[in-house]
Amino acid sequence: MGIKWNEIFVGGDPLLVGSQIAIVLTVVAIVVGLTYFKKWGWLWREWLTTVDHKKIGIMYILSGVLMFFRGGIDGLLMKAQTARPEMNFLDAQHYNEIFTTHGVIMILFMAMPFLIGLMNVVVPLQIGARDVAFPQLNALSFWLFFSGAMLFNISFVVGGSPDAGWTSYFPLAGKEFSPGIGNNYYAIALQIAGLGTLMTGINFIVTILKMRAPGMTLMKMPMFTWTTLITSIIIVAAFPIFTVALALMTFDRLYGTHFFTLSSGGSDMLWANLFWLWGHPEVYIVILPAFGIFSEVIATFSRKTLFGYTSMVVSIVGIAFLSMIVWVHHFYTMDAGPAVNSFFSITTMLIAVPTGVKIFNWLFTMRKGRIQFTTAMLWALAFVPNFVIGGVTGVMLAMAAADYQYHNTLFLVAHFHYVLIPGVVFAVFAGLYYWWPKMFGFMLNEKLGKYHFWLFVIGFNVTFMPMFFLGLKGAVRRAYTYSAESGFAPLFLVSAIGSIILAIGFAVFCYNIYWSFRYAKRNVSHDPWDARTLEWMTASPVQFYNFAVVPEVKQLDAFWHMKKRGETLTLKESDIKKIHMPSNSGLPFYMAVVFGITGFFLVFEAHIAAAVAAIGIVIGLVIRSFDYNDGYYVSVDEIKRTERTWRNVEGGTENHVG
């Protein structure tokens, strides 16, 4: 077999050897810890085989935190390297690898799992369902994502990282110019993770269309559920494009085909075209759920119903539609001709319209509201001005003629960080502070939350604001260094200092999780924020069957109105019926393992080994098709016992800690 063992472990560089040692030590520590505390069985029963949407959501979020850490370290390394002119901290090759893994990890393995995690936890609760439509498929989604993410992450110590940018443009990403195996990781790991995402999309479309509580028509759905529905539809439309493009890339790199090569009739721009046909919708896949989160948080903490609900829905549908027809704005400079560039300029600028509608709706929701400045709300407040900066510079970039100037400079890098960080990261933080009590039964510390908030927001602006000006002065992106004569040094230094503040902010967040896990009050009520939607109607943390009795929905903000009518917690014991729940399964985890092994062999172009491992995949599929286990029933007694732990018979709530 063609494995060159001496090439597998990248040695020599102290940074890499250090990380290799650190990884080995961490793995050993985890294994020893689990064995010492006798936690293997617990891990298997409660987490690895779970099909509970809430636990799957938590695992997604945990992966998101880890990947943010990894991607963030990449970001800091780049900032350290460019802090002074002509630095020798990273060489050109390292810088290439690091911006590539940073981009891929931040978008696909940080933003996506964070948002999909929150969707998993919240959406079934918001629509009053017991789980998603296909719980086991949901577990498979998570494990495939995880498998892909881990495969991608080991690249920097095993065999070398991809280094052709997160866009991996041909011909650079092809075998001819990138002969190592690094870019195989890109093609194969993203393929595996993408399968998981596609299944998530399908799962949530069916869940939202089919499993809403009685009375909840589409126009009575909470806004986060709406954005999840539209996001899922975009996933189903866009991800197959990426699947195909990656498959063709794999053929080109592994089997010598010529889809994207310069010679033998290939078309390198076809890759760019397919990549962005997926890539632009992808940025809306990460931004729309974030919009949903802000809508919930702003409505809750302004103590008002969302302003312009219908126009909100129309704008997200409009954004979804437009997002499919703007992709060429990523390569205006390919020079596809004036008609093409003008068309895509116009569609791109049009997106500003529905986005503007949403911004104004949020502002009007806050107008005359009794705003509560909780940490979650602070993130939503900071989002508005910061995202507007990202949006306005986006409209500047949308003009094809002007883009010839901005293209490939740090101006662009600043722009998309101003969209992605306020749009996604702030939203995720807002969502985590907001829904944390629902997930874990205790709150994140608000005071630490505020330190986290201020450090992060200030650090973010100090890091990325200078990049706009660097870009306008001509600093190109993806360049590992610059000369002292260029005059870039002061702004680069400011930016590097900003990134340290940003990192401290994130550290405070991690400390907050730790602190709250240890010390926060546990008897938090089921509705600590006095919120509006159904997820707050059930216990915190949520019991595994979600709702003892599925609620009836009469209008938007159903729970709020129930509270107004004073009918929230009265549960007649005679209404309780036995509940059907899906059984756990180890199959999704098994599939992740065999997919991971197959992928690993493919990366190293060990075709026979990969084919053998792929038999494992087929076996998994066969086992699944003979799986006749369709779940079990929770007895009325057990439900009664569980419900009595958090609500009393009359319907009041115990121990309200706010």
Binding site: N273, D335, V340, N341
Partner: protein, 99 residues
């Protein structure tokens, strides 16, 4: 499946229209004296019309509780397919890049 009338009118009508469309296609292909390209365009269009007809007459896309969803789904799928295929061809074959 609920039907408005006992007799499956829509099936019969659909069946006849399908027959007619098929025969027209055969006629165009075998008997009409026009260029190959035109023949392809005509029978291609007839095929699309017939596929649509069958979706409505036989497969009842508009009926049932998911009728609207089905129609929206298909319209969206067609839109996405056109964007991807026609869009890519347009982008990659116009302007300097292609010449």
């Amino acid at each position: 499946m609920e039907h408005k009338s006992k007799y499956p009118v829509s099936h019969v009508v659909g069946f006849f229209f399908s027959l007619i469309l098929t025969f027209v296609a055969v006629f165009v292909a075998l008997k009409m004296n026009v260029s190959y390209t035109i023949v392809m365009w005509i029978i291609g269009s007839l095929a699309v019309v017939q596929a649509g007809l069958q979706l409505f007459m036989f497969m009842h896309v508009t009926e049932g509780e998911d009728g609207k969803t089905n129609v929206i789904n298909m319209a969206y799928a067609v839109f996405v397919a056109i964007v991807i295929v026609a869009g890519s061809i347009w982008v990659l074959t116009s302007g300097h890049a292609a010449h």
